[in-house]
Symmetry: C2
Subunit: 214 residues, 2 copies
DNA sequence: GAAAGTATGTTGTAATTACAACATTTTGGG
DNA sequence: CCCAAAATGTTGTAATTACAACATACTTTC
């Protein structure tokens, strides 16, 4: 197991190595590996496991009965997912979680939270709050990216956000074309087409997942 | 101030009247009234106030420079909003908050959280976690409602969710036509038109904000 | 209860998207 | 290096949506 990435995570912020080791034990930490494309959770499942990506990445997505995929979020190395379901253990998952590439996930049992002493628990809860509130902002962001009615507007909304985050007009995005299309809720072919037009119009330059805003 | 609605809120779950009174003081609780249409927060503002609706309701929305409105959420009596921004006090708001009708809001200062003792704080943080995780599920829900490419699919996705929540095929929705259109990210006229077609097709019956799924 | 204002429904046309089919480029084994 | 597979780009047509303009219904106020 990759210790350093967990030690640097938001969840354990402010905890020293000894405390983290104890918490890992108390929360039944267990790591598992997944091949690209594997489904880690399916819609309808129940879980009390807070999940942490130690390697690779996963997509949080919804797949309807006609095979349409909507990507809500991409969770990369060093980030958490399923925190809402772990903390509301009655609620069945509304989403699928899928390995976007080969990946390793650490599972932490949240039902064990109640056993911790108040001080440790308060510190951990404060960190969990940071995780959930940040996730909230991510979900809001996606809403703004999909809000424009037209494909070009959605692309620009998304690219602007990434550009601001990376403090640069030139950056890589974590999505391939199909994933970006499913994230922005548009047809892949329409996305490709629009990206071409935007390059012809001198708005952007792009090659694969490298983008430049002009 | 309407005490009972605050006492029954998720935030104070498990606290007795004396504790709640102390907490209200510690968190500088203050109530304010707003007329329908008033903007309570604007995009870009910073706040550390957790907000609670004691009467009426507000919309969490995004208004772009062309006057297009996207409603992310409708927050009614007994519910909280701005919790993400209150808990991440560096982050400027991405959204506007607008009084959907005449309403009363209680503001609770979250910067005072650190002063509480561990036990009280752990209990309060646990409740805050419930608020943020539920908000997360709400935001996810909206993503599913706006995921279908076609207007009819979006309407059905939304109505199904409401129907399941209310355990009935017949129910009222909290939106008027313009709000529903802005929530589902479609044109109001297209929404009205599609609702008419769906009634002709025998899928639903509706009058004003009362709906029945057939 | 009339008038004014607001909300909702209807319709037509221009613009956009969905979808399918196919071309081209890139990637990963052997 | 070549081949197969995957990813990305292109194009055309049918279907859908955006937008504007207007009709109707419902509410509020005087």
């Amino acid at each position: 197991m990759d210790i350093s990435v967990l030690h640097n995570s938001i969840l354990f912020k402010g905890f020293d190595d000894t405390e983290i080791a104890e918490l890992m034990k108390a929360l039944n930490a267990a790591e598992k590996n997944y091949k690209k494309g594997t489904m880690i959770f399916s819609s309808g499942e129940i879980t009390d496991k807070l999940c942490f990506v130690t390697a690779g990445g996963v997509t949080i997505e919804s797949n309807d009965m006609w095979g349409n995929r909507t990507i809500l979020n991409l969770v990369g190395k060093g980030q958490f997912f399923a925190e809402s379901y772990a903390l509301l253990p009655d609620v069945p998952m509304l989403v699928d979680v899928c390995a976007a590439e080969d990946c390793s996930i650490v599972f932490l049992s949240m039902k064990s939270l109640a056993d911790l002493n108040d001080t440790i628990r308060a510190r951990l809860l404060a960190n969990l709050l940071t995780i959930t509130t940040r996730k909230n902002l991510h979900l809001s962001s996606r809403s703004f990216h999909t809000a424009p009615r037209q494909v070009r507007g959605r692309i620009m909304a998304y690219l602007n956000t990434v550009s601001v985050q990376k403090h640069s007009r030139e950056f890589d995005i974590p999505f391939d074309r199909q994933q970006l299309a499913d994230y922005l809720n548009v047809e892949r072919s329409v996305l490709s087409n629009e990206l071409s037009k935007m390059q012809r119009d001198g708005l952007i330059r792009c090659r694969k997942n490298h983008f430049e805003i002009i």
